[in-house]
């Protein structure tokens, strides 16, 4: 194999020795099925004593578990102290690296990783942004061969090649050597360090083993390994690199994730196609077309077997027309589009999603070491019959059923741990006993699982721990209430108690009624619907009522003498608290709330207009304040300099739909407007304009239509003796509304 070769870039000629003949270098394309086949065949021919694979040596201990894995899987390596700082090395069945690993396992041959350790590369990733070979080596070769796409060139020359595997490897090595010489100056420092490490591993292996050794690495690195410079030169290159302690394991991976960029740099655009190429070296195209028409038929699109036959013929013809040895992905896709999909690319997109990428999820056997948390999660997945799946699934959970309640609990606990496996659908209301979830397991969640492992040994324990910590550090009532709500949803008794305590602590310290009231919405839902969850609702009800009582007492004062920003907060707090009261408060406490609203409205001198206006409307809507009183209140607000705008705004804001639908409310505003004396009316108009300025365009249109229909005559009644002027005013008001139309 290793013949005398031209000098390697950057190496001095004097001390450099050629690689011994017993080392075979297999230059591969990461995740290339052709390369995988070459590696497997070459290993069978060479029968090495040791296989070195490009990969992080920190994971050497994990290699023994290869037999228990079903690809696609990935090595997840992370900082032992900070699991969120992690990187993946994915392997598919068709990855040459994977073939090398499994060959070793099958033949009881030692396999080691030979790249820069993750302990070093992880820190590097942070400092340097992206360091990759600036020149695309395959791109250059492909261009020289007259191909527009390097992937296709490699496919033609290597993946479809039937040459003897070691000869093929030698040819690849030679081409790469020529390339490296030409582009010597584009090789960056990181690559040189990685290759130095590879050579160091190789030197060590040469002293430990006296039999044949095979190195499986990216084709680009082959030239750098063909000769060994003095060991000191490599040691110098690697000196002073920061190294961290690394932990990790195997995690299931998916084809979808393989398609994205991965630890090996380039992602694979068509993992499903590659897996097919790997699995079916014969009858590749007929099988692919059969699967394509099957997928299309499942989607209800017509795709007969006869058409599949024609598609195969067309793909073969296209390949011949383009001078390719056999059809590639572009030929089969174009043939499928013309014959099976009738030129319509909707069908082709489905094929791409389901076949070309595919959504296969790998498996990791039970013997593979993993964090206790991950083990617990798997146990729960099995128990709750909720397997991790890479395809998105919509679920409806009936909380009265034990298993569904368990599922909801698990998904929520995982949320607390930032493992967002499922997303609750809050938009659709399914009543008190049901929840809608969208569940999809993204293999990347493995990082979150690893990071969560430090919080506890079980999902429940970890989630509880996180919630208790959050409860302890809660500083506002609203925050504590949120934790309490989550704790109840997760059914974690300890966390509920801690959050309860936190709530009491924050409430005691809180002096601001608004802050107390802000906590109500989070609690109200739980109090109202919490009984399903098995936590004691009484506990929460007492907490909520305590907050409500104190908040009600302080409400008028909290709205007095505040600036506009605070008033906005007060308005939204008032709204939400009101909803919460309607939803969950008992009669006594509701009465206290209404009383608070009354007091707010009556406060003299007036509190800020926004909350006061809103309180006035809420009272009036519930018939607790008569129309007369409201009209008086409005008139007075307008007459008081400055507060008028905010009062009208507070009264009307967000009421567009109600204003249009409720003739009583429209009549009230109408009556108030028409009852105004002339000067006051002119003063009020800008206020009104501003109050409705945040209605949306369709809302304003509806409103304008309402006024146009029924408003006219009503306004005319406000005749103050001067019909001409009244008519002008009517026009003016109408113009105002019309102007609001868009």
């Amino acid at each position: 194999m290793a013949r005398p070769l031209p000098g390697m870039p950057g190496a001095g000629p004097g001390v450099t020795k050629p690689l011994p003949d017993r080392v075979t270098l297999l230059g591969i394309r990461h995740h290339g099925p052709g390369s995988a086949r070459m590696v497997r065949a070459a290993l069978d021919v060479v029968r090495p004593q040791l296989v070195l694979v490009e990969g992080p040596p920190d994971a050497d201990a994990l290699i023994e578990h290869v037999g228990e894995l079903i690809p696609p899987v990935a090595l997840l390596l992370h900082d032992a102290a900070d699991p969120a700082d992690a990187a993946f090395w994915p392997f598919a069945r068709f990855s040459p690296e994977w073939q090398a690993l499994t060959w070793g396992a099958r033949h009881n041959v030692d396999v080691r990783f030979a790249d820069l350790p993750a302990g070093i590369s992880l820190s590097r990733e942070k400092t340097d942004d992206v360091d990759r070979v600036v020149v695309d080596p395959l791109g250059v070769l492909a261009e020289a061969a007259g191909f527009d796409d390097p992937e296709r060139w490699w496919e033609d020359v290597v993946e479809h090649s039937s040459a003897e595997p070691t000869q093929l490897a030698a040819a690849v090595a030679e081409a790469m050597t020529a390339l490296r010489e030409e582009f010597a100056d584009t090789v960056d420092e990181r690559t040189l360090q990685r290759e130095a490490w590879m050579r160091q591993v190789l030197r060590k292996a040469l002293t430990e083993y006296d039999g044949p050794i095979v190195v499986v690495c990216g084709a680009w690195h082959v030239p750098a390994l063909r000769e060994l410079p003095a060991a000191k030169a490599d040691a110098d290159l690697l000196k002073g690199l920061p190294k961290r302690k690394i932990a990790g394991s195997w995690v299931p991976w998916s084809h979808g994730r393989l398609a994205a960029t991965s630890g090996y740099g380039a992602g694979v655009a068509s993992p499903g196609w590659y897996a097919h190429l790997w699995e079916y070296p014969t009858d590749t195209i007929p099988r692919w077309m059969a699967r394509t028409s099957h997928v299309l038929r499942e989607e209800g699109l017509p795709a007969s077997t006869a058409s599949a036959v024609e598609a195969v013929r067309l793909a073969d013809t296209l390949a011949a027309l383009r001078g390719r040895p056999s059809p590639g992905l572009s030929e089969v896709s174009e043939a499928a589009l013309a014959v099976l999909c009738g030129g319509d690319d909707v069908g082709l997109r489905i094929v791409h999603e389901k076949l070309v990428v595919g959504e296969e999820l790998g498996q990791v056997g039970e013997g593979v070491p993993r964090s206790p948390l991950a083990t617990d999660l798997e146990r729960l997945q099995k128990k709750l019959r909720l397997p991790a799946s890479a395809t998105e699934k919509n679920m409806r959970l009936d909380l009265r059923r034990e298993i569904d309640r368990g599922r909801s609990r698990l998904l929520r606990q995982l949320h607390v741990l930032h493992v967002r496996w499922g997303e609750p659908d809050e938009t659709s209301t399914l009543g008190t006993f049901a929840e809608a979830w969208t569940v999809r397991w993204d293999p990347g969640l493995a990082v979150a699982v690893a990071a969560a492992a430090r919080h506890g040994a079980t999902v429940e324990g970890a989630a509880e721990h996180v919630l208790v910590e959050r409860a302890k550090s809660a500083e506002t009532v609203a925050h504590a209430a949120e934790v309490l709500q989550e704790a109840v949803a997760c059914e974690l008794v300890g966390a509920v108690a801690a959050a309860r305590a936190a709530l009491d602590r924050c409430a005691a310290a809180a002096t601001d009624a608004l802050e107390l009231l802000q906590a109500l919405p989070a609690l109200a839902a739980t109090v109202r619907y919490g009984s399903v969850r098995g936590t004691d609702p009484e506990l929460l009800r007492a907490a909520m009522h305590g907050l409500l009582a104190r908040g009600s007492a302080g409400l008028p004062l909290a709205c007095y003498g505040i600036d506009d920003d605070t008033a906005e907060v007060a308005l939204s707090t008032l709204d939400k608290a009101h909803e919460a009261v309607i939803l969950a408060a008992d009669d006594d406490h509701s009465a206290g709330w209404w009383d608070a609203l009354h007091r707010l409205v009556r406060t003299e001198p007036s509190a800020h207009g926004l909350p006061t206006g809103r309180a006035t409307r809420l009272l009036w809507e519930d018939d607790r304040l008569d129309t007369e009183a409201v009209a008086i209140r409005m008139q007075r607000a307008v007459s008081t300099f400055g507060t008028g705008t905010s009062f009208v705004a507070g009264f009307l804001r967000g009421s567009a739909v109600r204003l249009a639908a409720d003739p009583r409310l429209l009549g009230l505003v109408d009556e108030w407007l028409t009852g105004l004396p002339n000067e006051a009316f002119e003063d009020a108009l800008p206020l009104l304009r501003r109050a409705i300025s945040n209605f949306s365009a369709p809302e304003r249109r509806t409103l304008a239509e309402r006024v146009a229909q029924g408003g006219g005559p009503a306004v005319l009644i406000a005749d103050d003796g001067d019909p001409e002027r009244t008519a002008r005013l009517v026009e003016f008001v109408r113009g105002l509304y019309e102007g609001a139309r868009v």
């Binding site: 174009e334 043939a335 013309a338």
Partner: protein
């Protein structure tokens, strides 16, 4: 080049030199009855320079893959269906493929609402039928039948304009490659090389959906509208110059700037927004195809030649533009007015065009 004695010579006549040169240098295997190898057909359509120095003009500007799929389809003796909105060069491509493959692009059936089954299958010479009784001599073959007997490419234009039952008479021809004649108790069997290129328009009104039984027997290639403004400008100016020559217009070839203006107006109205994406526009009801852009430019050239100073300018374009855009008196007029005021008026260098359009249609 042969002297054109007809208004528009067919492709095999007009490009006879190129086809001869291609055949001379073509060393790849040819399917039965094919005049050229598939590779040479692709080259004929897409253009290039041959080893003997002959320059082949590009006939189709667009994705190479589409042409390869089309030729590949014909090699596998499947029927080819070219689908696209008007002006995507469906008929143009079909004509050149037939010319390159069979040396004959004239075996055409034109699909219309009135196309009868005789046009697709065979008819009878009634005088003979009456005097001699049914015989092969009394049978009048359709272009399709003639193509079957000679192993040539038959072209069917606007397939979906034919009534559905006439379309379906193609099913046996395409799947069995045979045409039974029950009256004579015989059937004609196609010889190798026979295939069908059909074109269809999926946008226009008044089309008859193809039955799925027939659709299954076609490989479908969708020809997209030109992807970029530059590509479209190239197509329009190239075709307009060719047509100008064919019509022997004494005017100069169209200035690129004018062509670009027309193409931009068409693309903007077709897409419903200006090229910078800032202004949203009403879309007119017409399809505003590249073919129509070509005809706006050629009619402008004719106007310039006969009534103007010979060079194409805003005044000549305005009339054609108005006619191309306004297909529906009410809604299209509104869309065009809006476009004139919001876009044309605002572009300083388009002032002449705005003025010309306003003069024609002072709204």
């Amino acid at each position: 080049m042969t002297t054109p004695t007809v208004l528009r010579p067919s492709a095999e006549t007009q490009y006879a030199d190129e086809l001869t040169a291609l055949a001379a240098t073509d060393d790849k295997p040819r399917p039965p009855q094919w005049r050229l190898s598939p590779q040479a057909v692709v080259r004929y359509v897409l253009g290039g320079t041959l080893s003997d120095g002959t320059v082949i003009t590009p006939k189709y500007v667009g994705d190479r893959r589409l042409v390869e799929v089309a030729v590949g389809t014909l090699v596998t003796d499947r029927a080819l269906l070219l689908v696209g909105v008007p002006g995507t060069a469906k008929s143009w491509l079909s004509e050149h493929l037939a010319a390159a493959i069979s040396g004959n692009s004239t075996l055409i059936v034109q699909g219309t609402a009135g196309t009868s089954e005789e046009a697709v299958r065979y008819g009878w010479n009634y005088a003979r039928l009456i005097s001699e009784g049914p015989s092969e001599a009394a049978l009048v073959p359709s272009p399709v039948l003639r193509a079957m007997r000679t192993g040539a490419v038959a072209r069917i234009e606007e397939l979906t304009r034919m009534p559905a039952e006439v379309q379906d008479s193609l099913i046996t021809i395409l799947s069995e490659k045979a045409l039974p004649v029950p009256e004579l108790n015989l059937q004609f069997q196609a010889i190798p090389g026979f295939t069908v290129i059909a074109t269809a328009n999926d946008r226009d009104r008044g089309v008859n959906q193809m039955s799925s039984a027939l659709a299954r027997r076609f490989n479908t290639v969708v020809l997209p509208p030109p992807a970029t403004e530059d590509a479209e400008v190239e197509i329009v100016s190239q075709r307009a110059a060719q047509l100008g020559r064919a019509l022997e217009l004494p005017s100069e070839p169209p200035a690129l700037d004018e062509v670009r203006r027309v193409v931009r107006i068409f693309r903007e109205l077709r897409g419903g927004s200006t090229v910078d994406g800032r202004t949203q526009l009403k879309k007119p009801s017409g399809s505003l195809s590249t073919a129509e852009a070509i005809s706006v430019v050629t009619s402008g050239m004719a106007l310039a030649a006969h009534f103007g100073d010979g060079s194409l300018g805003a005044d000549e374009l305005a009339a054609g533009l108005l006619g191309a855009v306004i297909k529906d008196r009410v809604s299209d007029t509104a869309a065009w007015q809006e476009y004139l005021e919001a876009v044309v008026k605002e572009r300083k260098e388009w002032r002449d065009l705005y003025r010309a359009c306003r003069e024609l249609d002072p709204a």
